[in-house]
Symmetry: C2
Amino acid sequence: MDRLTIIKVGGKVVEEPESLNALLDKFIKISGYKILVHGGGRAATDMATRLGLETQMVEGRRITDAAMLEVVTMVYGGLVNKKIVAGLQARGCNAIGLTGADLDLIRAVKRPVGDIDYGFVGDIDDINSRELRVLINENVVPVLAPLTHDGKGNLLNTNADTIASRIATELCNYFGTYLFYCFEKKGVLLNPEDENSVIFELNVQLFNQYKEEGIISEGMIPKLETGFRAKRNGVKEVLITNVENIATGRGTRLL
Amino acid sequence: MDRLTIIKVGGKVVEEPESLNALLDKFIKISGYKILVHGGGRAATDMATRLGLETQMVEGRRITDAAMLEVVTMVYGGLVNKKIVAGLQARGCNAIGLTGADLDLIRAVKRPVGDIDYGFVGDIDDINSRELRVLINENVVPVLAPLTHDGKGNLLNTNADTIASRIATELCNYFGTYLFYCFEKKGVLLNPEDENSVIFELNVQLFNQYKEEGIISEGMIPKLETGFRAKRNGVKEVLITNVENIATGRGTRLL
């Protein structure tokens, strides 16, 4: 099977011109088929602030009312996504920027209101792997914004880590899929103060132990859970790394 | 040759939920292959105002400095485009939202600074008809935002009427292309006060006469010039009409 690498990059990496350029330079060097999934949370928060809207986060997830949905649609689907696409095209990489609404790629269900009303936040229901494969086989590089739709005309705000993981899983019947979570650090750190304390290999048992000990905490927990799920479901490799190492394959490898 | 209809819709039609829904209901009824090209100027101006940016127009064209480019990228490429795509998908129409950067569809050249510096405004250099045909032949409906790129990583603001006209012209070797400019009125009016004074057929001679007499003026002049150019270059039919009539084919037909 051909190799397909799915790279998820966080907001911080794609929002600064310098780090974005560094990412795109590295990204085009990855061999085989590729998909880029990006965040953009900081840019959305900045834009919301400029528009006088307050950002409210619960457990790392953005409360997305109608006004905030407009902000994330603009910022993720327009500003961040199209800058990446133009940057890749300038490097000779045939990128296409997409949301889950385009080509009906990702259907989601609006999260039911429980203790918390997340608003227009979507949990993935279905990935349209056929349309993705048509693009990939045309040597097109999909660049996915973290937006989905409900099939009834509504866009929904969906976590980028989850989108990347689900796509890697859905496509592993057709490609050998590699999932790289790319952020500012070299990997998962044993000591957050020490940039070089990277945990090179992590299994579920160790993950649970580190979680209990508080070594792994906050946003890293759902990211790793999503990664382990992908690994369990047939993704060949799941790696947590930084831009510098997306081509070398160094970082935290999930076992 | 198969029929391909290129519909260009102005900002006013796509920015209000009610008129947008009316448009999409009509649009899906058009038989044969379809492309939708949209504007979004009013929404961009509103967003600019909310962000404390002043909008400056010269002869109907927006002066697009770096801050305004971010606004149009967000509003055209994100907000307006993705709302249309989600609305079409909800109607079972397999839409994909694109800018000229996606798939390298439309390359443009930044307009040289003359008496006026338009900033990041692009004049079309090249339409990538191959990629558009791949999509069309897959029965995908491209929804194009009025943004292009320069191939060096920069997005550019480009007039939607011109994009629609150039695409209709480029594709007329492969399809019988029909170009519909859709706006609030039933067609070009002989008397702007009388909604029913539609000029049903217009040739270049009559156009020049009406222009001299001031019957046709302002924004309608470049729109019609663009339309006549398309007609001259092989587009089967160019029609100026409203949402109500995009399926009936009534309006002002260019000869």
